[in-house]
């Protein structure tokens, strides 16, 4: 007895992720060409890189055990400097962000204020904190003040943007209700806008404190003070065990901050 061919297809193939075959193949071929070009021009000294493995091994063994005791005083100094820097730059950055954020919200500000504030935000968001820090160090000299200025400017770009977006998304009926009572502009901001955006903004400020601490660990590499400066010195003096200790401390503080900020944000919202 012979089995008739069924009318429906008896085999199935997984449909491709990108449906159009032309687009799919041009992406595949394009990436292949790009990879070939990239590897071709990467100018890697492979002999030097091959030395990397034994070097890396020596490097790692120099890391262990981390040396917490020899430079304890310097390390504490650096950590506290970073913490102070993170706190002050968060506070100053947020204080500056509030007027800028209010001005950058389309439903509050007239057009020319809106455009000015948006361009301030755009400007401070473009460059990484490290580049800001290089210029701050040129202007204000070495030390935590330069780092503070750089991180504050970075905070404006982050915080004012999110604040403005949050204000644009508020519930307009509440704002209207307060306005209908005959409130002044400051009362209106204080009783209609502020309570609506406050919970999220508190969460974001804790998050920004977290970011500023992380960044304060690197602005020191270009002379902006903080634990980054201590870390850089440790590397330059080939004191890898101290560097390992500093890295572990940074990881520890960042983890603590991340958990607290996550917890606080859940609690506030």
């Amino acid at each position: 007895m012979s089995v008739a061919e069924p009318d429906f297809p008896s085999s199935w193939k997984k449909p491709p992720f990108i449906k159009s075959p032309l687009l799919r193949w041009s992406i595949i071929i394009g990436s292949a060409i790009y990879l070939a070009l990239a590897f071709g021009t990467m100018d890697v000294d492979w002999a030097r890189a091959a030395e990397g493995l034994p070097r890396g091994k020596r490097f790692l063994t120099a890391f262990f055990p981390p040396n917490f005791s020899d430079n304890l005083g310097v390390m504490w100094d650096g950590i506290f400097e970073s913490i102070w820097m993170a706190i002050i730059s968060t506070v100053a950055g947020i204080a500056l962000s509030i007027p800028i954020g209010l001005g950058a919200a389309k439903n509050l500000a007239p057009n020319w204020v809106y455009l000015t504030c948006r361009s301030i935000i755009g400007g401070s968001r473009t460059f990484p904190e490290i580049i800001l820090a290089i210029f701050a160090v040129k202007l204000f000299g070495f030390g935590p003040f330069a780092g503070f200025v750089a991180l504050s400017i970075g905070t404006i770009g982050f915080y004012a943007k999110l604040l403005a977006e949050d204000i644009e998304n508020i519930n307009p009926s509440q704002a209207e209700a307060i306005k209908a009572t005959g409130s002044s502009w400051t009362q209106w901001i204080n009783y209609a806008i502020q309570p609506q955006v406050m919970p999220r903004m508190i969460g974001l400020s804790v998050y920004r404190l977290d970011i500023n601490f992380r960044e304060s660990a690197v602005v020191g590499i270009v002379g902006g003070g903080g634990i980054g400066a201590t870390l850089n010195t440790a590397f330059e003096r080939y004191e890898f065990d101290t560097a390992a200790a500093i890295l572990l401390i940074i990881i520890g503080i960042v983890m603590v901050l991340e958990y607290t900020s996550g917890y606080l944000r859940k609690w506030v919202q």
């Binding site: 070097r55 210029f135 935590p144 590499i221 890295l247």
Partner: protein
């Protein structure tokens, strides 16, 4: 929001007296911390230099204008290097992030111990800034693009794996169950049930991180890890300010272009 009875009728207040007191107390503590932190900073600041800053800013500003456009001919190679660092770094990160993410997601992890190891990898990669990764890798591999690429890769693993495993945890289990009901093995369930659901997330994460990596790779050169940052620190160290402003313009346009590309691609995927 209490009404307080006064001799001449009730008065509306926003908070009760107790709430007001608590708020004042919290503000007091916050101000004390801020004042103390400020003292810590200002003790280590040389105020003479800070007062001098406006003059310095005017001076540097005047030296930076006009940007030296002819310098551009020497910048194409570093820009290309920067793009390669970002792109290849993202590729490395995605390759490592996939197994880590599957090990870290609740619904795909083989064992709780494996999960905690994966979470540890994610956290430690995220806590160390790419500049610090680069600083260490320059010691191992020598200065150059390779150290930068690996630094970007290692730094991005945590970010990509975290977003990816959150995506895996949010998949629709009924689809996996349907595949299982056909008699598929675990591996087949993975390929036909889970992967198609997370593939768009995966592509979105890759592009998103690529955009961030472009920004980060512009500065890696400061510690010797290749790219345009190398030119930047060289120009700053030789006080060639017209070159510095040119480099800043190039970084600015690279960042804007990469942001535009990533927004377009993500718009097409999601």
């Amino acid at each position: 929001m209490p009404l307080i009875e006064m001799p001449d009728g009730p008065v509306w207040k926003r908070r009760t007296t107790k709430e007001t007191l608590i708020r004042w107390f919290v503000w007091l503590i916050a101000l004390a911390i801020i004042a103390y932190a400020w003292k810590g900073i200002s003790d280590k600041t040389i105020w003479f230099f800070v007062q001098d800053a406006p003059r310095q800013a005017a001076d540097i500003g005047s030296r930076m204008i006009p940007p030296k456009f002819s310098y551009m001919s020497r910048l194409w190679a570093p820009v290309w290097d920067t793009l390669n660092i970002a792109t290849l770094g993202t590729v490395i990160a995605l390759v490592i992030a996939v197994p880590v993410a599957f090990a870290a997601a609740h619904n795909t992890t083989p064992h709780p111990i494996v999960r905690s190891i994966a979470i540890f990898i994610i956290v430690s990669s995220r806590s160390v800034n790419s500049l610090i990764w680069a600083l260490m890798l320059v010691f191992i591999f020598g200065p150059g693009v390779l150290a930068g690429t690996i630094a970007i890769g290692l730094r991005s693993v945590g970010f990509c794996a975290k977003l990816l495993y959150e995506g895996i945890e949010e998949i629709d289990l009924t689809q996996v169950e349907a595949i299982e009901a056909t008699g598929a093995t675990k591996a087949q369930q993975m390929v036909f049930g889970i992967v198609p659901q997370v593939l768009p997330t995966f592509a979105g994460i890759g592009v998103f991180r690529w955009d961030i990596n472009i920004r980060e790779s512009t500065i890696l050169g400061l510690v010797g890890a290749g790219g345009i940052g190398l030119e930047l620190s060289g120009s700053i160290n030789t006080l060639a300010w017209t070159q510095v402003s040119m480099i800043l313009l190039v970084i600015l346009s690279t960042v804007i272009v990469s942001e535009w590309v990533s927004a377009k691609v993500r718009g097409a995927i999601i």
